[in-house]
Assembly symmetry: C2
Homo-oligomer: 253 residues x 2
DNA sequence: AACAAATGTGAGCACTGCTCTTGACTTCCC
DNA sequence: GGGAAGTCAAGAGCAGTGCTCACATTTGTT
C-alpha cells in the first residue's frame, strides 16, 4: 500500500495527474482568496480563470462547475477549522476539560473572525441553489462537533461533568434522537447532558455568528473579547463542566 | 396636523404619489416572493420587473438599485418578525415571564422556519457587497432584542429574575459596555444578568439558525420541536428566569 | 387644450455561468 | 519512428444579470 490510500486505484500518479492535481490546487487557492475577499455568492469562475492566467472555459477542464468549486472550498474550510480546533484543544492536557472547552470555543471564534466569508459559507445562510453533497462534506463538517462531544464525554467519564440542573426533563421523542446520537458516536453521557452539549454547541456558533456577521450594532461592544470569554464561561457552566481541578470552585447556590 | 406625521411635508398625497406608493408596494411584495423562493443573492430586479409586467429599466424609476430593494425587504422582514414576536409575547399575561420568554423564542423559530430565506437575509451571512444602512434598519432590526430585554428587565424588577450562579464574574471592560447598554435602554438588571440575557439572545438565534440552515445533518433530529423546547427551557434557566408562578418549581440542586 | 412632470420603452454596455467546436499538444502503444 | 488516443487551451456563443441613457408615452394639473 504505497502512496495515499484514499482511492481504490493503487497506481502511482502519472506526471499528467500530478500536474492536474497541482492546477486544481491552484484553482482552490485562488478561489479561497476570492471567497475571502468578495464572499461566497460573488465567487466567479471567470475571475479565478483570469487570476490563473487562462481563459474562462479552461477551468471547466478541472472543475465541473461553480458548485463543484464551492464544494471544494467548503471541504477546505471545514478542514482548516477542524485542524485549528484540534490543535488548540490538544495543546492542553487531556484532563483539563474546562481549559480544552475554552480553547475549542476560542479557536472557533478566532478562525471565524480571521475568515469571515469562509465562516459564512460554512455556518451562514446557504448559498441559493447550492446543496452540499453530504457524502463529501459530512466528514469534515462534523469534526468540531465531534471534538466537542468527545471532550464532554471524556469529562463525563472522568466524573467532571455533572448535570447543572434547571431546564426541563427530556421527553421521550427527544430521548430517542439522543439515544441514536449517543450510540452512533459511542458516547456515555446522559440524555440531559447530551442535550446540553447540543445547546452549548449551537450557542457557541450563535455567539460567533452574531459577532462575525455584525449583528451586534457597530460600537455596541467595545470589548468583544471579554464578552466572548464571559459567554464561554457561562456555556461551560451550562454544559455542566466543573471548574478547573482542585478547589471546589463551584459557587454556592 | 392631519395625515401621517412622518415627513416634514404636511400635504395630502396626490393621486400620483398614491399610485407610486402602490407600485413600490407591489415591487416589495414581488421581491419578497422571489426572495422566499430563490434566496437573497439570487434576487433579480429583472425578474421582479417581468412579474410586474414591465420592462426591466422601469423599476429603476421606483427603486434606486438592487441594494435599495434589499434594504426595503430587510426592513419589511424585520418588521414582520417583530410584529409576530410582539403579538406572541403580548398574548400572555405580563406577569408570566417564563411563558412570555417561551413565546418569544417560539415565535422567532416559527417565523424563521416559515421564511427561511428572509431569516437568512436578516441573520445569515451578509450578502457580499451589501451594507445595510444603519439609520434605516437599526430601528426595525432591534425590535426582538428590545422585546427580550424588556421582558427580562420586567422579570428582574418583579424579583423573578435571579442570578443562576456559575460562569464568571464580569470584568471591568465588559462592565463598561453593559453599563452603556443598560443606560441606553433604561434597564435595571445587573451586569451578570444583562450579560446572560445577551448570551441567551445569541444562543436562541444560534439554535434557530442551525435548524433553519440545515446545519444539523438531515435526519439527525426526528423531533426538532421537542429539541427546541428543551433548549428553550434550558435558556430560560440560563437567563435566570424563575419557573411559572406559585409552586417553588425550582428543582433541588 | 396645452404643458410639464412622471412613467414606460428599448437599445446597449459590461459582467456572469456554461457549452461547444476547433486546433494544438502530450503521451502511449505498436 | 509513427500513428492513435487522450488532454488541454482558446474563442465564439447563449442566456442571464445590474444598470444607464435617449426617446416615447401617459397622466395630472393649469
Amino acid at each position: 500500500m504505497p502512496q495515499t490510500a484514499s482511492a481504490p486505484s493503487p497506481k502511482p500518479p502519472t506526471p499528467r495527474e500530478r500536474a492536474r492535481a497541482r492546477t486544481i490546487e491552484d484553482i482552490v487557492r485562488l478561489g479561497r482568496d476570492h471567497l475571502a475577499v468578495h464572499g461566497a455568492a460573488a465567487l466567479s469562475l471567470r475571475a479565478v480563470a483570469r487570476d490563473l492566467g487562462v481563459v474562462s472555459s479552461a477551468v471547466y477542464r478541472y472543475v465541473e462547475n461553480r458548485e463543484e468549486l464551492l464544494t471544494l472550498l467548503l471541504i477546505d474550510a471545514y478542514n482548516e477549522l477542524g485542524d485549528e480546533v484540534d490543535a488548540a484543544v490538544s495543546a492542553l492536557p487531556a484532563a483539563d476539560f474546562a481549559g480544552r472547552f475554552s480553547a475549542l470555543g476560542s479557536a472557533v471564534r478566532r478562525w471565524a473572525l480571521r475568515e469571515p466569508a469562509r465562516y459564512g459559507l460554512l455556518f451562514g445562510s446557504p448559498v441559493p441553489g447550492y446543496r452540499a453533497p453530504a457524502e463529501r462534506t459530512t466528514g469534515p463538517g462534523t469534526r468540531v462537533i465531534y471534538a466537542l462531544m468527545a471532550l464532554l464525554d471524556g469529562a463525563y467519564r472522568a466524573g467532571r461533568l455533572v448535570d447543572p440542573g434547571g431546564g426541563a426533563a427530556v421527553v421521550p421523542p427527544l430521548a430517542a434522537d439522543l439515544a441514536r446520537i449517543r450510540d452512533g458516536m459511542g458516547l456515555a453521557v446522559s440524555d440531559r447532558l447530551l442535550a446540553r452539549g447540543a445547546l452549548v454547541w449551537t450557542s457557541l456558533f450563535g455567539a460567533v455568528s452574531f459577532e462575525v456577521f455584525g449583528q451586534y450594532g457597530a460600537g455596541t461592544f467595545a470589548a468583544p473579547d471579554e464578552l466572548f470569554s464571559h459567554h464561554l464561561a457561562a456555556l461551560a457552566d451550562l454544559a455542566g463542566l466543573c471548574a478547573a481541578d482542585g478547589a471546589g470552585e463551584r459557587p454556592a447556590y
